[in-house]
């Protein structure tokens, strides 16, 4: 001790050593105060900046084409109620608001919700629909006023989710039902409107409760704190984190109104998980659990949703309905205890049964094959990020009825034509189908495989296969356009060898090696004769045929090989659909479209993709071609389907078969729809099917179910009808006018004399032959 004493400076009084810590403490306090101030400042700044800039990444939503109701529309009562159910409408005995309908013996009464379309707002209407079998007879209000037209809301078919997987339907505070807001406040944070972001009283109470129970039974965090926790997405529960959260909550409460904080909470809170899609906010939760907008939910349903915020997976009403109901009742009791609801309201809400919507897995998978086309089109104008974050509304051309009908029929129809010999366990006959609107070029339905909702390799858009005889109409169209041919031109269906250069020869054959000899132009197309087609095509020119394909809408380069005449060109079903679309609309080409319009999330119109059309074939050539393509059904390769399609006749189309029966095609159209079917194997093995024995049957099944409309051809001033001899001959001495065939001709290009049965000379001969015929 003495040694130490020597070291102490003599001028330092010994009693001061007792207070030596004081300046250190002072320094410590000042430094830590500074650090804390900076920290607080930083947190305060962060919170203000982040909350001001709060922008949720909102997924783009895609809609099918909406149902239009008007007198005369093709729609029966079952179609309408099925559509309403998909929109989540409730069938009630007494309609009180939007989203409800009621079926009576004579009509359906409904109250629509209204919707913001590209071309303007469709208001909510309360009206009746009367039917006359498969058509709408009239729309009228209860005051018996006739309504000319009502457009229902579109069905949402898919969405493009942000990378976070978060999905929500943000709403403003006034859009949330007061009962929901009350329920959330009552059960989560009673003193929300009076505390300053944190609630010391609540914490104390929670602490007491937890101590009493010996475990965590109650949380003391406020809505503000929960919001902070959600926004900054940290799972760690360290003390520092908790203090930070509390600080942020205080800061948030200081700078923003209770209403702003509450709105953010109601839109932010996590309320469910569907695959990798996270359901956030009450607006979306209502759609997700009840398939109805929040505004249409009952007190019990709102209480159930409010209860979910504490643990969306634990109280998941789909998996644990008991827990969800118990939780709902707790919420209802707190509402009652805090006098937000009356005793009778409470009693009534408690008796409500859980009415959770069932979401079929198919509905969730959507329509992947169609969506691929939509995605391709959108990629031209929108980048990936915009689609995933800006909450765009995308209006597609998908016709739910056509798509669902096609999917419902396709698999069985394919199975029915599948040859057991060709299929093995590993390889099944595959299919692709595209249905478009004859007039507008809008794509109505797509199947990328035979299986319903199939999401793999999209054959409709990606499988490139030789089109076989589907190329023939282009050969005959090129011939008709050249002005050198009529339907009554006589072609020679005889063996032909085409030199390919390099000493090689191409010698095509007919199906089953038949040789038909002299045949009429129309007949050769209707019965799909290869030899006659090659003779004709070589005369007209392969380049002319290729040019016709391009004009009809095929966008890739066509290689000029003679085998093009028999369809040795690879195309996808949708490319075929584009060419036949042009034929179906009488030579008017309209680009196929799957996207009709885009609006922002609040309905502001953005891009629109309207109808385009240009005339690429003269009407008279189209008229003549149409005659032969209708003949495919009445006399040609599709004749076998006449019986099944009796009510739909006339229709037009063409079968397609490729070498060794690998691909089976049919492309056909009525007045309203164009349908293209491809059947084949992914490994390109022989299917054993011709166009007629495979694809045509599938086409008939699907298009028949869709009630495809008969072709209506308008007569043209420069088309005249003439009688020709029923048999095709090249030598006028062999002309036989006993049996006649009436055919349309271009005014300036009548029948050749060898078959013309209307010239005076032939008329005489005709009479003579008839007399001779009588005598026999």
């Amino acid at each position: 001790m003495q040694v130490l004493d020597l070291d102490t400076p003599p001028f330092m009084p010994p009693k001061r050593s007792k207070r030596a810590w004081w300046p250190w403490l002072k320094r410590f306090v000042i430094t830590s105060a500074l650090i804390i101030t900076v920290w607080c400042l930083w947190i305060d700044l962060t919170v203000r900046r982040d909350f001001n800039a709060l922008q949720w990444a909102l997924p783009a939503r895609l809609y099918a084409s909406p149902l239009e109701l008007y007198a005369g529309a093709h729609l029966n009562q079952t179609d309408l109620t099925a559509y309403l159910q998909r929109l989540g409408y409730r069938d009630t005995p007494d309609i009180t608001g939007p989203g409800e309908y009621q079926v009576s013996s004579t009509h359906v009464r409904l109250w629509t919700r209204g919707f913001e379309f590209w071309d303007g707002r469709e208001p909510a209407v309360n009206f009746n629909v009367a039917f006359d079998q498969d058509r709408v007879r009239a729309l009228f209000t209860d005051q018996s006023n006739d309504l000319p037209l009502v457009r229902l809301e579109p069905v949402e078919i898919a969405q493009i989710n942000p990378d976070t997987g978060e999905d929500r339907l943000p709403m403003s505070l006034t859009q949330f039902p007061p009962a929901l807001v009350n329920a959330v406040v009552a059960v989560e944070d009673q003193r929300f409107f009076s505390h300053f972001g944190v609630d010391p009283l609540g914490i104390m109470r929670a602490l007491v409760a937890n101590l009493r129970a010996g475990e965590i039974v109650q949380g003391g965090s406020t809505l503000t704190q929960q919001l902070i926790k959600n926004l900054y997405l940290t799972r760690q529960q360290t003390l520092r984190r908790k203090i930070e959260e509390a600080l942020m909550a205080v800061s948030l409460d200081l700078h923003f109104s209770k209403e702003q904080i509450l709105t953010a909470y109601l839109n932010e809170v996590f309320l469910g998980q569907e695959g990798n899609r996270a359901i956030h906010g009450f607006g979306l939760a209502a759609e997700y659990y009840f398939a109805r907008p929040l505004a249409e939910l009952s007190l019990g349903e709102l209480a159930l949703l409010a209860g979910l915020s504490q643990g969306a997976s634990y109280y998941n009403p789909r998996r644990y309905p008991e827990r969800a109901l118990q939780r709902r009742d707790i919420v209802l009791s707190s509402l009652l205890a805090q006098e937000f609801i009356t005793q009778p309201e409470y009693e009534q809400a408690r008796t409500e049964t859980l009415n959770i919507s069932t979401r079929s897995s198919r509905q969730r998978r959507g329509y992947p094959a169609f969506m691929e086309l939509v995605g391709k089109e959108l990629a031209q104008d929108y980048d990936r990020e915009a689609l995933r974050t800006e909450g765009l509304r995308i209006f597609t051309t998908l016709d739910l009825r056509a798509q669902d009908t096609m999917e419902a029929r396709l698999e069985d129809a394919v199975k029915a034509v599948e040859r057991a010999a060709a299929s093995t366990d590993a390889a099944h006959l595959e299919a692709a189908m595209v249905i478009t609107d004859t007039i507008t070029g809008e794509v109505r339905a797509i199947a990328g495989g035979r299986q319903r909702g199939y999401a793999g390799f999209n054959r409709a858009l990606q499988a490139v296969r030789p089109i076989g005889s589907l190329a023939k109409p282009m050969v005959y169209l090129a011939a008709l356009e050249s002005g050198n041919y009529s339907l009554a031109s006589v072609l020679s269906d005889t063996p032909i060898s085409v030199p390919l250069g390099g000493g090689q020869q191409w010698s095509p054959r007919n199906y089953e090696n038949k040789i038909y000899g002299d045949v009429y132009f129309y007949d050769a197309l209707e019965r799909s004769m290869n030899l006659a087609t090659v003779h004709l095509g070589m005369r007209v020119g392969v380049d002319k045929v290729a040019e016709v394909m391009t004009r009809l809408g095929y966008e890739k380069t066509v290689s000029l090989y003679p085998s093009l005449l028999l369809g040795a060109i690879d195309m996808t079903p949708i490319e075929v659909a584009q060419m036949y679309q042009t034929l179906a609309s009488n030579g008017f080409r309209s680009p196929l479209r799957a996207v009709a319009a885009v609006t922002s999330g609040d309905g502001t119109p953005l891009e629109r993709y309207g109808i385009e059309t240009s005339q690429v074939v003269d009407p008279t050539s189209m008229y003549l071609l149409e005659y032969a393509l209708q003949g495919v059904f009445t006399r040609g390769t599709a004749e076998g389907m006449m019986g099944q399609l009796e009510a739909q006749m006339p229709l037009a189309g063409k079968t397609g078969t490729t070498n060794d029966l690998r691909d089976s095609w049919f492309a056909g159209y009525g007045d309203d729809l164009v349908g293209v079917v491809w059947l084949g194997y992914d490994d390109n093995r022989e299917s054993g099917l011709t166009g007629a024995s495979g694809a045509l049957r599938v086409w008939t099944d699907v298009m028949g179910s869709l009630n495809i409309a008969p072709r209506r051809t308008q007569s043209l001033p420069d088309i005249v009808w003439h009688d020709v001899s029923a048999t095709a001959v090249t030598d006028s001495r062999l002309r036989e006018c006993q049996h006649l065939k009436s055919l349309p001709f271009k005014l300036q290009h009548p029948a050749e004399s060898a078959v013309n049965c209307e010239s005076s000379e032939s008329l005489l001969q005709n009479i003579l032959e008839r007399v001779r015929g009588l005598g026999r």
Partner: protein, 180 residues
């Protein structure tokens, strides 16, 4: 717990001081969802600008939509070729057809200079009556007004392909084609 409360108290105090010292000019109400969507228009989305053209007078035929009224409402041919006429319920007045009501909206939109919206409305009517020559003609005239001549010509030719039974309309369409 005491320590935490104390700390909280200190921090709240600091924050209060802070707010007192900081002057916040505006409290933006951006936490509402409508605010959250604000940025939709500029990242890669092409917004259609409706041309506010006033050259309507250039085409005297445009307002001839009254031609429509002479066509009987809602006559759609049925499968067997006979004409299906919608039976009107006890209502005394003949109801307007769906496309007639849409054409009224089209005229309003055109009058307001909202030509693209007008085109969208005609297309909606075309989905209901795809073979109505007048609708195609109306679309052609709207495109012509927008200065999109080649598209207008396509629609006009389409109109002609459906107008053979209506010489007056055919004449109008040809007149429009002549101006393109």
């Amino acid at each position: 717990m005491n320590l935490r409360l104390l700390l909280r108290g200190v921090l709240i105090f600091f924050l209060l001081v802070l707010t007192a010292c900081t002057n916040y000019p505006t409290r933006r109400s951006t936490s509402t969802p409508s605010g959250a969507r604000g940025g939709a228009a500029n990242t890669g989305t092409a917004t259609t600008v409706l041309p506010a053209t006033t050259e309507r007078a250039a085409n005297p035929d445009l307002d001839e939509s009254r031609v429509r009224d002479e066509i009987p409402p809602q006559a759609a041919p049925s499968v067997d070729g006979s004409v299906y006429v919608t039976p009107t319920p006890s209502a005394p007045v003949v109801p307007k057809s769906a496309s007639a009501i849409l054409l009224e909206e089209v005229d309003t939109a055109v009058a307001q200079g909202e030509l693209e919206r007008a085109a969208a409305l005609v297309e909606r009517a075309l989905r209901i009556e795809p073979r109505d020559a007048f609708l195609w003609y109306r679309l052609a005239s709207i495109r012509a007004q927008q200065g999109r001549a080649s598209e207008a010509a396509g629609f006009a030719r389409r109109a002609l392909s459906f107008s053979t039974s209506d010489p007056a309309l055919t004449q109008q369409i040809n007149a429009l084609l002549g101006t393109l």
